[in-house]
């Protein structure tokens, strides 16, 4: 890997354990509690933080608000807010700020009480915004799930993809979730029925939510949060845990366009940028942390990230190859249980970085032996309409 830069690394992580806080804490408290533990995980403290990254839970002045709340004095501030992909954007921006010498310790946090608030992320209305796009679309009653479902419908039409193939995503993530005590607790707290490994038949026989997506192809709506600390190489050298290097990043956006192919996402643009910077290929990935809002999200993204050709994802995922115990078949998918079976408080991107880091540290509950390289790919917004995506390639020493 000649020429691969190792300028910034994830040195501290924390995943907030509860998915149902029952109103006892709020989103900002989840952020702060996670930040403190992530800093402690790295052997750092509040005063070491000189760069803050925030996706806006604190409102329009979130960067200022959260700095005061944490009691930090950052000299780099970034409030990029692009939904679930925000944290992959933040990691990319933190790498650049650290590489430029503008920062040494970057802090990313997330907190949400979507479940406690009974916030209907997936099946609710689209809100009453008056952006011009909304003004053209709100009348149709397209739920978020229906938008993703239209990608699946088109994928089936163009490539012959089947519901059984899409179900592979759900069964693999549930297989991993059952090995993760926090995921099992989450499903318990959120009143899942049948908290057990699932079969393809279980998934395709579950209730249809928006054709062709079934209940078990949709992520949960949970509470939760977490934090990530990213540090420069000199700081990382003195941290408690082994560094997980950010080797490459890529960012992109996509939105509706006349005649465009909705089976291809912004990931097709962001991933090649990230792989090129990292000097590695998709085939070298041990771990694929891919935003699993829905089964189709992962299937389309596996293609877009280059694990297989566009349209071949259905056949590629068959036979359980995404499980952590099939290391010779390609990367293990979402080994924490994913948004489908561990947590989805609305913006899941931070958990992709957390579990990728756990894998590269050897700390996962579905550990891939000797995992060396991982991709975390966040997708925020609507896969079949407007969305942002960022790809982050991670590696260990």
């Amino acid at each position: 890997m000649a020429g691969q830069s190792r300028d910034a690394a994830i040195v501290g992580i924390h995943e907030y354990p509860s998915r149902d806080v029952e109103g006892r804490v709020n989103a900002l408290q989840i952020k702060a509690a996670s930040a403190a533990k992530a800093l402690a995980d790295a052997g750092l403290t509040w005063s070491d933080v000189d760069a803050i990254y925030d996706a806006g839970e604190g409102g329009t002045m979130s960067g200022l608000m959260i700095s005061e709340y944490f009691g930090i004095k950052p000299t780099v501030m970034d409030t990029t807010g692009v939904g679930g992909s925000s944290y992959e954007f933040h990691a990319a921006h933190a790498l650049r700020a650290i590489r430029e010498g503008k920062a040494k310790v970057a802090l990313l946090t997330y907190g949400s009480t979507a479940h406690s608030n009974a916030m209907a992320i997936g099946a609710g209305g689209r809100g009453g915004g008056i952006s011009p796009g909304d003004n053209m679309e709100t009348f149709a009653g397209q739920t978020l799930i229906a938008n993703y479902a239209m990608v699946a419908q088109r994928h089936m039409y163009q490539y012959g993809t089947t519901s059984e193939q899409l179900a592979e995503i759900s069964t693999a993530t549930r297989f991993h979730a059952m090995r993760n005590p926090e995921a099992v607790q989450a499903m318990t707290d959120l009143d899942f029925v049948d908290i057990q490994e699932t079969t393809i038949e279980d998934v395709v026989n579950s209730r249809m939510i928006a054709d062709p997506l079934h209940l078990l192809e949709c992520c949960m709506v949970s509470d939760g949060g977490g934090a990530v600390v990213i540090a420069s190489a000199d700081v990382a050298a003195d941290c408690k845990k082994s560094p997980v290097w950010i080797l490459g990043t890529g960012e992109a956006t996509k939105y509706p366009k006349n005649g465009a192919d909705i089976t291809t996402s912004a990931g097709a643009q962001s991933a090649p940028i990230a792989f090129a910077e990292a000097g590695v290929s998709p085939a070298e990935m041990d771990i694929a942390m891919i935003y699993d809002s829905f089964s189709i999200t992962v299937l389309a993204l596996l293609e877009d990230l280059g694990f297989c050709a566009k349209g071949e994802g259905g056949a590629w995922v068959e036979g359980g190859r995404l499980r952590f115990d099939r290391p010779n078949d390609g990367p293990a998918l979402n080994t924490d249980g994913g948004g489908l079976s561990s947590n989805h408080p609305g913006m899941r991107g931070i958990f992709l970085l957390l579990e990728a880091t756990r894998q590269l540290r050897g700390e996962s509950t579905s550990q891939v032996a000797d995992a060396r390289l991982a991709i975390a790919h966040g997708n925020g917004g609507m896969l079949g309409a407007r969305h942002s995506a960022a790809s982050v390639i991670l590696g260990r020493d």
Binding site: A120, A123, G124, G125, G128, I130, P132, G133, N135, M136, E137, T138, F139, A140, G141, Q142, T143, I145, A146, N147, A149, M150, V151, Q153, R154, Y157, R207, M208, I209, A210, D211, P212, L213, P256, K257, N258, G259, A260, I262, G384
Partner: protein
């Protein structure tokens, strides 16, 4: 015509704002059941959704045109679960991206069918079916 209390209180379809600055002109024209779209006289770009500026060139000259109202379904989904006060009363219903023959791809519902679970298909030929409201009409589609 008398209106019962139940009808008065029934939740209604969320309607667009006629004064939204980019798209209001489109909606005002729907009162006459015209589906308008813009094309740039400078670079030829067909715009969707409507905007005040051309996304194809920086010296755009957008002109309104009227669609003949024919198109095909690019993709669709049948919504079985909605928490919206109006749409929850309408499930199951079909949402679809429709490619008009002139180019614009718009989001809408499919009407004029017996069963959305069996009567909607990718590639299906459709035509505009206007749903009338007080100051505007909503462009739905039905099988052509």
């Amino acid at each position: 015509m008398s209106v019962s209390n139940a009808e008065k209180k029934a939740p209604s379809r969320p309607l667009p704002k006629l004064n939204e600055l980019d798209t209001g002109e489109f909606w005002q024209a729907t009162a006459n059941k015209e589906f308008r779209y813009q094309q740039c006289a400078n670079c030829g770009t067909i715009m969707w959704y409507p905007r005040a500026h051309c996304t194809g060139c920086v010296d755009g000259d957008l002109r309104w045109k009227v669609s003949a109202g024919k198109g095909t379904i690019y993709s669709f989904s049948v919504v079985r679960l909605s928490y919206h006060p109006f749409f929850r009363t309408k499930v199951p219903y079909a949402v679809a991206y429709v490619d008009l023959d002139e180019g614009p791809r718009f989001l809408t519902n499919v009407t004029g069918i017996d069963d959305p679970l069996t009567d909607v298909h990718v590639g299906q030929c459709v035509e505009l079916a206007w749903e009338e409201h007080d100051e505007l009409c909503i462009p739905l589609v039905r099988p052509a």
